[in-house]
Symmetry: C2
Subunit: 576 residues, 2 copies
Amino acid sequence: MSKKILRVDMSKLKAKFEDFPEEYATMGGRALTSTIVSNEVPPTCHPLGPNNKVVFAPGIVTGATAPTSGRMSVGGKSPLTGGIKEANAGTNFAQKMGRMRIAAIIVEGKYEGNDYFLLKITNDGTEFINATKWSGKGLYQTYKKLFQEFGSQVGICGVGIAAELLGAASGICFNDPEGLPSRYAGRGGLGAVMASKGLKFIVVDETGASGVEIVNKDLFNQGSNKLRSALLTHDLTKPQGSLNTYGTNVLLNVINEAGALPHRNFATGQDDRAANISGEEKAEQIKKRGGVRPHFCSPGCIIQCSEIWTKPGGKDPVGVLEYESVWALGANCGIYNLDDVGELNRACNNLGLDTIEAGDTIAVAMEGGLLSFGDGKGALKLMKEVHKKTPTGRIIANGTAFTGQAYGVTRIPVVKGQGLPAYDPRPIKGIGVTYATTPMGADHTAGYAIAPEILGVGGTLDPRDPKKAEVSRNLQIATAFIDSTGYCLFIAFACLDIPEGLEGVVESVNGVLGTKLTVDDIATIGRQIIDTELAFNKAAGFSAADDRLPEFFEEEKLPPHDVVFGVSNEELDNVF
Amino acid sequence: MSKKILRVDMSKLKAKFEDFPEEYATMGGRALTSTIVSNEVPPTCHPLGPNNKVVFAPGIVTGATAPTSGRMSVGGKSPLTGGIKEANAGTNFAQKMGRMRIAAIIVEGKYEGNDYFLLKITNDGTEFINATKWSGKGLYQTYKKLFQEFGSQVGICGVGIAAELLGAASGICFNDPEGLPSRYAGRGGLGAVMASKGLKFIVVDETGASGVEIVNKDLFNQGSNKLRSALLTHDLTKPQGSLNTYGTNVLLNVINEAGALPHRNFATGQDDRAANISGEEKAEQIKKRGGVRPHFCSPGCIIQCSEIWTKPGGKDPVGVLEYESVWALGANCGIYNLDDVGELNRACNNLGLDTIEAGDTIAVAMEGGLLSFGDGKGALKLMKEVHKKTPTGRIIANGTAFTGQAYGVTRIPVVKGQGLPAYDPRPIKGIGVTYATTPMGADHTAGYAIAPEILGVGGTLDPRDPKKAEVSRNLQIATAFIDSTGYCLFIAFACLDIPEGLEGVVESVNGVLGTKLTVDDIATIGRQIIDTELAFNKAAGFSAADDRLPEFFEEEKLPPHDVVFGVSNEELDNVF
């Protein structure tokens, strides 16, 4: 049995397996979701109408024994940006799909009534189960009960209350290894797209699955081993390396030190209180509290940057507190208390909200006078408004730009409608070029210029040099390729510095597909993916004016370095 | 003394008169506002930030004795569409400005504190007066007191509570002859732009003004007389003609009969109950109640399509109930009760809300389940939410698209973010071409194809013929010219059918300016204005995909004619 596509028509509550088309044969992950969306979704359709689709695709090697490769891509037209979106998460849900040889799930149409459904996928077929009873309920409780009902061996994907509100800040939630609803394809509001169709959960049970089909096992193993060695060697990715020891939040002190950690809605780039919510402090607290660190988001990961954050005494496990989330819900809101940040992260996971968008949103609400900067308890109350589906909750669930408009705020940190991540683009210009030009809207993962600009990985670049079109372009292209393989983007740290690592990636992909790609092909493949995405966005109405940062990044100097962004429009337009 | 520009810097609370630049010498009204906005406002600026401006300009002949010419243009970057905006109103405020020889008021910068100001302009100079005490108050009460304070001879322009909320549905309000706050440059959220700067009112006192400078009085009088004759002759514009007798709302029965009156958020084009809110019924009621009809919006109007609607017994005068308002707040919300419509119109005027946008917004809120279609009292409660500045009020004050997103509605009747007016584009395709392609966002006044398609004015066209690029283009171009002269657009009815009328327009303009324009120059001048606006929009990020109607106009057939829009993208792109 070779790979299949599962097409789910929510208007008829029917799901059917289709042959995996030849034209998609070498695609996985982002390449597949973006190509299917581009082929099947009218670019000017309403993102929450029947003509949008949501596409799930594990990466090419996902589900096999390749290290750190449990990534799931989700694609569709974004209700947040109005353009194409790929959001991805690390979760065993992806690995199960890979082993079941389901290359993609395409969810289309729209259920006409008010009910929600759960789609159960097993090796024997599919089943729709009414899931309306879970409406209005938090995902922690819900996932716990769903695992009890369907068995601990399943993978669960779902949407929460924010998506029921059709909020543009709602993500799609996947389980972590303990079954916590903490691994998110968070960005761009794809949760609302899924909910708009009447689909609340997908449960995959891989019992009896054939496993990933691997055309050349020796080559696959050779490649996997090369990558494994690179990951085990590189300072950032090795056991007891910085990601393993402190998680992604190791960045908090680093970026604060660089004067580029946005505090209080991008008002300053540095604050002494940052240390209170740093990766170092968090690791210490996890030890004290009886949480788990390090921890993997999906089996087979070498880096293991994840963790289980809990309340004191190991209670109420949240899952991981990523750097982005700690920044967004912490420093960006002037909240320098890990307990508050942890509870806010739990609230986001529980509601199905993207943590980055939620943090930007709360900070903008603070600037708009709805609550004060630093008011962690007030921020939690805002989350309760979402839970209760009040008008305020509806505003918050629609994200940063929407909340900014509701409260008359003009300093709104978004590109293409999507909230900026945890690096101020003024002192670190390459990441700003990526924010401005990626088809995804402000997204650090789309072309992580922080690597050469701050971490000294993949070379060393002056963060203040405004000539960053080339590095952003190259990183965006390489990222589009990696996002398609199923490997976690963090393998790039090792691959940028250790050539054998990248060779290993390509060899393992060749092993699975039976292709003869070389490292040199990465640029062509990655560029093709991005060109597909750019064409969709152009047809949806985007133009060069959308590839810009908000004007306040040119008008307000960011302390302590007192710089504006200052990258020319020509440089931005030179990226693609 | 020749014409001046008054430049108002709200960041310093300073206003200074500047010479009227030579390059603007032949411009007035929309030509002037659009050119100044294009020259001075960065297209990608935040519409509510310090870099946007709001520009007021009376037309070329406004303030002189030319008939039906009391129009005021207001321009800026629209917070509703994100593009350039010109909205205009008929009001003696414009005539006073004309006679004071103030060609334009340019309001720029932003007051840094929380106070609001009133700018008083007299022949002797300008004065800023703290107006914070009027914040949160309805405009009926406020205008009454302002006229008491400043004298009945002044003209007042102001913004209401919706603008204080920086709502994108807020208009700029001008007084009618009785001092009622009922003449609006309503569309596109320019009220919020004015409020964002800290400017709440402008009061003009023309005492001692020199009057409009007229280079060739004989020619001016000759032209005015020609136009006057045409207006007095044409069936639509003459005394006891249809506009004079029933007001603009004479259209309600006509358009309902044509199956193109949108009912209940554009769900059907015809409903028997339309007669309850028709112009005929309204005229009857005004007579019974002791209101006023006919009535002029500004002195010197021959058509006199305006009126004063009141509660029974002549109480609580509202001002005019235009066709657009009666449709938006009535039929489009399933409300077929003139008392409810009148109170809703009063609420909009009182809050400073655009009635068209408000009606579209309420209908979308109804579709989103916030209240039921037909619930007039519920709609009035929504208006109270705006008054009380609640979260729901903030949603409503931001208009149709915003409210649709907040409540998860996918049938959102907007183009470029602006709510559609009172003609369904499916059975009357030319007006739909105008909605789609005008730089203003959905706007019937931008190129009123209803004239030839339904009224048989300026020729007769089949409303169902999808080939409407040419007629829409020609009407849009002619309109841009008329909007610059200061003449009311309604003179076009007479001018389209009576060539001497149009000659009179051109001669009167030549009389004022000393120019030698011919009727043939209208196309060049009008096109230049539109090209200026299109260039601004392009730089602001608009592309062909923005020149489209929402997808539901292609997917849902409108009863009773059961047609979709069906104008090709090529036809739309052929307009400009």
